[in-house]
Symmetry: C3
Subunit: 294 residues, 3 copies
């Protein structure tokens, strides 16, 4: 009999259904919206796909409020059996996210820094281990923490605009990307490219990002969301359960490393950011940003 | 003196011989054949190279019998000092191997599933840690377990036939590739490509497989075996002992991971495959294969 | 406020200075030379960059003396707050380094072999963990231990001369690259390329080395040093402290593996090299080198 496990799969995907083919009930077609100050969620109930739009002008900085809302919104979708996939994108023109909000790292108490850092960790833990299909629709600049969000998704589509760049550029600011930023980057582009990237704080143009593998696909700017939706439907054709286990198998060791060292990672951040020299640098940097704005 | 370890090696390979240059005795030129129901072995004693031909039509499914014969044949060659390299290929047109035999996973006892899974493990352990040079001559479709066999060899040559594909496509069937399939794939194409590949159960065309590194070389279909033999003679020019230690250094941590978790891996498989929902899916899938056949 | 951590970095590198921007004092412009028998060091105090020139004709073999001088010279620079980067190159035409000196491995006592191997380890430990920016200016052949030195630097520029090659070719001589050579190579070109490379003892032409990622850049032979200096000034634009922590984060696990197993690694080498069969092979190999020389 022609009964090899793999062969049939070549053309017989439809043969497997029922218990393995996912959560979404049939025939529901309404759209649900919910929004916080910084995040707008549009859930297409028929497709089982949500679009999470970051809407915190001017640059979608990851403030404590932003991060908290992000984690709550994502968890809400995670627990919604009608949602199987999330497209993460920006509602602010020209920027995906500029990363961590420096204001949360300047002139505050050690307790505040610890709370902030825990929220950064929580955002990443929730996004990187999500059971949903996660696709980043990168429609603007994507440095530092913005890049972390993108590389934590399952797939990345970037606007082919030569003005946009992406990368973990912390080193250029005298800041060090924590080990789990590094781990996520190694999982995406490998050890050597990450080593060079982190040492130099490199920002890659969209086309270089594609070459080195930080993003998976470039499309014209106006087509980023449509391309993300098309890719999403390909990913949702895969039985959820097997896809989720496969994803978890790949990512669990990296997630566990932070879970094991979570408190010491917070302590590291607090003791780093409370240094006089670092506070001075960050304040000078904030001043320079204000002047550029003005 | 011109005595750097590396420099001489540039042109002086012939200088090292005697104790380091391998096992094969000189001047033996006969051919030995041995065959089981599913595997035909042709050992060229002069070259010290065996060709293992999988001959279980229609699709070289990895049944319990097949796997047992495979492991015994490979061990026989391993213990034969006259054999230094193995070329693994198919005697069935258009298919290398379709992977695990679904019939072994349907309607049988838990004991049977455990025995079957142990045989799958054994095949991989023997192939991945082989002291011989192992080359896959991929002359047909190569999904799932077939792909595992191929990526467990030292080198892969595939027929450049656009109809053939290769990949770990288990997810498309609602099945999850076990962690050691995943590990072997990560060792071959890296973390990111494996993550995407496993989540989507991707099958790659021969040319895409070359690009992503699942195979090392494409040749016209009728030249696959000759190309494998030519590559084999290059590999056999290397002193066996140093090559074997180098291979073991690269693969031992991956092998040890399964050896350490072998029993729990069997238990995982048994408890997965005995689920009602999985049995139902596999039976539906088998029905669909029968109908395609008819 | 426009206060994302990453965004500002896009164009505002100059904003961070003071405590984070490095060690070099301003306005010093003299050049210091110091030299041992095998190593010449030229330190440009204004730039904070040293050029280490290996000058042990005919092939810069890594003898015990050479290695000891190398480690001492590097440590001297490491402890010099006026030196932030090192360019490693050769003063001998057509050869970067031919690797370990076979004379140190032939006809000596077990104590000598142990001392020699410890010196090889020490060279690698110092180079791979250096806090300085390390750039290899590969102006000649670069096999075996020479390749190890190169891949232990932060960046590699090679002369695009088709006669030069680079690679860990130990296996071709019946010798096995130790696990930390292997680890360094995996960190540079990944698992699969390393596995093939070590099993076959591959030497890559400059252009193949670029393709596979052993080197980062090719330039005409006469421009290697200038290109290295230009790259160095880009790397030195990054704040030292953040770059050093990032580098250490990437390399510490690999360094720790040798530190943990240092004594057993020495024992392995001694028991390997004292084997009669290996001594015989190495002596034959040395004879063949002498004849080629004559």
């Amino acid at each position: 009999a022609r009964r090899g496990l793999g062969l049939g799969a070549v053309g017989a995907r439809g043969a497997v259904s029922g218990p393995l083919s996912g959560w979404a009930g049939p025939g529901r077609a309404s759209r649900r919206l919910f929004s916080t100050r910084n995040i707008l969620v549009e859930l297409e109930e028929g497709a089982g796909v949500a679009v999470m739009k970051m809407k915190s002008p001017p640059v979608n900085s990851l403030s404590l409020d932003f991060l908290t809302e992000f984690s709550i919104s994502l968890e809400k979708l995670e627990n919604d059996r009608g949602c199987r996939g999330v497209i993460l994108t920006s509602a602010v023109p020209k920027i995906f996210s500029a990363g961590l909000d420096i204001k949360e790292m300047c002139g505050k108490s050690a307790e505040h820094y610890a709370e902030f850092w825990r929220a950064v960790q929580e955002m990443w833990l929730k996004l990187y281990k999500s059971n949903m299909v996660t696709i980043a629709a990168i429609n603007g600049n994507c440095p530092a923490g913005g890049c972390l969000m993108a590389v934590s998704c399952d797939y990345r589509i970037m606007a082919e605009n030569p003005k946009y760049s992406i990368g973990l550029n912390e080193t250029q600011l005298g800041i060090v990307a924590p080990f789990w930023f590094k781990d996520t980057m190694v999982n995406t582009i490998g050890h050597r490219a990450t080593e060079r990237s982190l040492q130099l704080g490199l920002l890659y143009s969209a086309s270089d990002a594609l070459k080195i593998g930080i993003v998976d696909e470039l499309v014209p700017e106006e087509k980023v969301l449509n391309a993300a939706a098309a890719t999403m439907s390909q990913w949702l054709a895969i039985p959820d359960y097997a896809r989720q286990i496969s994803k978890s198998m790949m990512r669990k060791p990296t997630l566990d490393r932070l879970l094991t060292h979570r408190e010491s990672d917070i302590q590291n951040f607090v003791s780093f950011v409370t240094k006089d020299s670092i506070q001075k640098s960050l304040q000078m940097y904030m001043e320079s940003l204000k002047q550029r704005k003005g």
